[in-house]
Each structure stands twice: as structure tokens, then as C-alpha cells.
Symmetry: C2
Subunit: 328 residues, 2 copies
DNA sequence: TTGTACGCGTTATCAA
DNA sequence: TTGATAACGCGTACAA
């Protein structure tokens, strides 16, 4: 114990926890001892004795690794600043016992808070379990706001609207759309944004130009091939994420289409692949790291019962080489 | 407590920990109660009372997100099977107080074991700290074996040798090589493998064809541009990982080079990008997920003091569309 | 095969 | 402002 090295007994606790009621003199003495012995309060003892576990749970079931990885960077950064740790779990959103899995998880570890990523954030079973365990959570990019629940998101509707409007502004009239995974709220919002932009420009929504994808590269490939096999193919394709857009790029190679001369391709997320494929993707940047940081901050501040908060961050249209005016 | 619901008191502990000395009858009774009350032993109480924390730490400082992400999938899978949890921390390998950071981390959390990824696995400060805290650890793809330390790896030397030999077999004689980050042991092993294959084929090692990269896309881009600007440019380029190989693909676009007709490109890892770029990359598959699983298994088995183990997994040459015989 | 007492390192409560 | 003491929920050692 540092108390021996210092002067007092478990006033150490007060110092470590930055409580008041400590004289500057003893505080200093304790801090020195802490440094000298490189003392660190044991996480388990803390967790056991108090409510505070200093553990943030990141729960995900996401086909896109890059999305989850980017999220983690933000979570880790904030955790480090605040002396928290991140524990990550992958769950199957479709599992019938998702609820009990989540419940086990949080009661087992008495997590300080949980970050729910899509599509988990829209699973009633998960949310119920969290509420039951009285564990604070914040949802990332959920389908719709929920009473008594915090979330952080971008305006997916507007983002997709902006992208579509940009393509229309380029002169495109036949714009294909590859939808995202139907379980993800953001996917639907993006499709609605696309529709709204078409409508606003007086362009018809053409059924055969809207095909279902699932955010995965493979699904993007299939969707892309279907769109490019059309008798009247689109002059531009807007995919709901970058992985699928990259797949469209690959598919267009098979059809011997020059990008962007014969086909414009746009993605969403501005993930790593967007900058790695050739031509680089025009896309919509989602500030994933910042979203993660905001989520952690909300969880930590939540010590006081402030009620649910919502935080909406800005997206950004990133124009690169995969889009251009149609040639015809 | 489930004991009330069941019959006995803390025989629950025995059942939960799968100890012997429990009659089938009581075991069943307890299990039912456990299910009924959805009881979960508290991680903190366990960690405090025993040595076992059921927490595996994954420590990384890796420029490549995809590598870390792939690793996590494997770790998570094994953890789930064994009832462990994964806590991940990102560290700065260059930080002067890396040692104390690692030390804090493990003493704070009494981690059951730690997985050290490159380049952390070759940092004496980190290893010392772990030894000091008497925390078991296994190193992924370290530079060289260490006394008293477990590791899991592939044979990077042979893998690079195989790839180089494949390119030579195709007829290439001027094969550029983009090195990986010098802090990563695997990077050096790969370069040596490349050299050995050249030597074995009686081909000279041409200085200007070997350029330094750092595993990042950007560094691959710069290295690629340098190689392609050469008066006598190589007919093939072998990059130490896929991110850099993808960058070479992009760079070759600027030079108006057709892949693979005018330039063959090979990568390493078989990461997501390898299949997403066009043409898809010929690469060397590293079973990252399996390596991670093996690492966790070693950590968990290590309950008994078996001494250090080494595990070497197989690599696999994956030939795709980015390589072909030279045209000249 | 099962139960009892004790302690793990910290925080919380209440006195001093 | 500080210090004693009792939890926190479990595992371990030993007794029954």
C-alpha cells in the first residue's frame, strides 16, 4: 500500500478518485507515493466495492470490419483519457437469445456503460436487456430515436440526399441505388434520402434501378452486376456504403466500363477502401471516430442522471475521381 | 444467490467452475437455478478472490486496422467459447514509458494473459513489464523467439521465398521489393526470404529495386512511384503487405501501366483489400484468425506451468489476377 | 460430497 | 480533513 509510503491510510482512495475533502499537503504526499510505487488501484476491487467499473463495453455485429475498427479507435482514445478500459464483444443480432447474452454480459461485468452499434442498436431484445440491468447505453446510428435512450448519429437522410443531388447536378438522370442491410436503420434513411432528392428534382423513381444489398462486398458485387446487366443501364450508381461501391467498381471492369466516363460510382462512409480502390471513390464522410468519442463522453458524463441525450454530427461530401458528368 | 433456489450454498462455485467433487444431482439442481435466475458470476468478485480474471488483453500499435481487426475476430471467438472476455488497448510502441504503461495495465486489471502484436511483441520494455508483473503473454509474429516466452507465427521467410520463387518462375528477373516497417520482425524476415529466393535462382539483388516502406498505404504509394520512376523499371513488384500492394496498383495507374500485362504486383496477408482492388491481388495468405485463436488457447491452457510454447501455422500462396509472365 | 470461515483490495459510512 | 470498519461477491482451505 501507498499509505505506508505516504502518511495516511486509505485517504489514498480519496486522492485517486479526485474527491474533495483532502488537504493539498496530503494530496501531494499521496501522489508522490503513488508515483514512487507506481501504484494502480485494482480494477476488480474497485468494481466490487463500488458501482463504478471503469469498463466500457463495445457491442457489435457488423459485417464491415473497417467500421468497427474505426469506432474502436475513437472509443479507445476517450477511454485512455478518462482512465477507462474498453471491452469488446461480438454478438449475433439474429440469435434468439440475444437478450440473455447481453444481459449476462453486463451483469457479469457490471459495465459502466455500453455502446451499441448497428444493427444491435435497433434490436429490442438488446435494449430491453440493458434496461433491465439498468446499464446506461448509447446507440450509434440507430433507426429512430427511442424514449429514454441516448444516441449519436449523422443525418443519413440528408447525407444521401446531398449525394444524390450532387449526381443529379452532374447531369445524371438514371441513378442506380444499392440499398444497405435492411436491419440497419441508417440504410433505410439513406434510401429515403435518395428518393427525396429524386422527387425534389422531378425525376422518377425507377424500380429496377433500386436493388437490395447488405453492406457486404459480395452483395455489392451481385447488385452491381444486376444493375449493369440492365438493358437500359444507369449512368451512375450510388451504393449505400464503400464496400459495395468498391464491388461495383470491380463489376464494371467485367462489363468493360470506364469509370467515371461511362459510369459514375459513389459510396458512403469514406472508409479505407474508398481511398484504396482506383479510381478513388466519391463518397460521404461519416465522422466515425468522433461519433465514438462522443458516445464514450456521454456514457461517462452520465454519472449524473441527466436523462437521454442525442448528438448529431456533420457529414461531408467527398468528391473524388469515381464520379463525372454522363457522356451521352 | 442461486443457492436459495437450488438446495446448497456455494457449491454453486464448484459447479460454475466445473470442478469435480459434485454429485450429478446437485449439479443439475444448481444448473437449473442458474438458468432460472439467469445467474452470472460477477467478474470482479472472481478476479478479486482468485488469480483468474477471465480477461485477455489484446495490446496493439498497428498502422493496419485490418490486421488488428482480423486478430480480434479470432480472439473473440475463442474467448466466447471459454467464457473469457477481451479487453483491448492501443499503445504507442515508441513511447519512452511504454514499459510503465504496460505495467499499469496488467496490474490494474490482473489480466489472465496478454496478446502482444507486432511491433509491440519485440519491444523489450513491454516484455520486461509483463515479466515483472508475472503476467503470461504470447507474442504474435515476433522478430525472433525469446527464452521463456510463447509465440505464434508463420514462417515469414519461407512465405516470402515462395512468393518470390513464384514470380521468378513466371519469368520475372527484375523484381522490385517494398519492405515493411523496420520495427516489425516479420518485415525483415520477408525481405530475407526475398533475397534468399533471388540468390537461389542465381539472380542478382539490385539495390535500387529494394525500397523502404512502412506497411501503410501512403508509404506503399511513395515506394511504388519511386520504383516505377526508375529508368529500368521492374517487371514485377512484391510488397510486404496488401495495403502497400494496393497502393502500387494505384500508382501504376498514374504511369499508365496495365496490370498484370506490363507489371505484376504481389502483396502479403490476403486482407480485405486484396480482394477488393482491381485486379485482385496475388498474395500470401496469413491465417491471422487462426493465429489469434491459437494465442488465446495457449494463454488459457497455461494455467499449468508448461513453459513456453511455439506454434507455427501454415501460409498459403494465393494467385489472382495481379500477376502474370512479363511481356517483353 | 458438501458446507464454513476467511480474505482478496477497494469504496462507503460513519465517527473522530 | 481524516481514520476505522463493514461490506462488495466470490474462491480457497479446511472441516464436517
Amino acid at each position: 500500500m501507498a499509505n505506508r509510503a505516504g502518511v495516511s491510510i486509505k485517504t489514498v482512495s480519496r486522492v485517486v478518485n479526485r474527491q474533495s475533502n483532502v488537504s493539498e499537503a496530503t494530496r501531494k504526499a499521496v501522489m508522490e507515493a503513488v508515483d514512487a510505487l507506481s501504484y494502480r488501484p485494482n480494477v476488480f476491487a474497485r468494481g466490487l466495492a463500488s458501482e463504478r467499473s471503469f469498463l466500457i463495453g463495445l457491442l457489435y455485429d457488423n459485417p464491415s470490419l473497417s467500421y468497427a475498427a474505426a469506432l474502436q479507435i475513437g472509443v479507445l482514445a476517450r477511454c485512455r483519457e478518462e482512465g477507462y478500459h474498453m471491452i469488446v464483444e461480438s454478438l449475433d443480432a439474429q440469435s434468439p437469445n440475444l437478450g440473455s447474452q447481453v444481459h449476462s454480459l453486463v451483469t457479469e461485468s457490471t459495465l459502466h456503460g455500453v455502446i451499441l452499434t448497428p444493427p444491435l442498436c435497433d434490436m429490442p431484445a438488446a435494449i430491453d436487456a440493458l434496461n433491465r440491468a439498468r446499464t446506461p447505453f448509447v446507440r450509434i446510428a440507430p433507426e429512430k430515436p427511442l424514449a429514454n435512450s441516448s444516441d449519436v448519429r449523422i443525418d443519413d437522410h440528408k447525407a444521401a440526399y446531398d449525394m444524390t443531388a450532387y449526381l443529379i447536378g452532374l447531369g445524371h438522370k438514371r441513378i442506380g441505388f444499392i440499398k444497405g442491410h435492411p436491419d440497419h436503420g441508417a440504410a433505410n434513411a439513406r434510401f429515403e434520402g435518395y428518393r427525396a432528392a429524386l422527387a425534389h428534382a422531378g425525376l422518377p423513381l425507377i424500380e429496377e434501378l433500386c436493388v437490395q444489398g447488405f453492406f457486404s462486398y459480395l452483395s455489392g458485387m451481385e447488385a452491381g452486376e444486376r444493375l449493369l446487366s440492365l438493358k437500359k443501364r444507369p449512368t451512375a450508381i450510388f451504393a449505400s456504403n464503400d464496400d459495395m461501391a468498391a464491388a461495383v467498381l470491380a463489376a464494371s471492369q467485367r462489363f468493360n466500363l470506364k469509370i467515371p466516363q461511362q459510369l459514375s460510382v459513389a459510396g458512403f462512409d469514406d472508409s479505407f477502401v474508398a481511398q484504396v480502390v482506383w479510381p478513388r471513390l466519391t463518397t460521404c464522410r461519416q465522422p466515425i471516430k468522433e461519433m465514438a468519442e462522443a458516445a464514450v463522453s456521454m456514457l461517462i458524463q452520465k454519472t449524473a442522471e441527466d436523462g437521454p441525450m442525442e448528438r448529431r454530427l456533420d457529414h461531408e461530401l467527398i468528391v473524388r475521381e469515381s464520379t463525372a458528368p454522363p457522356t451521352s
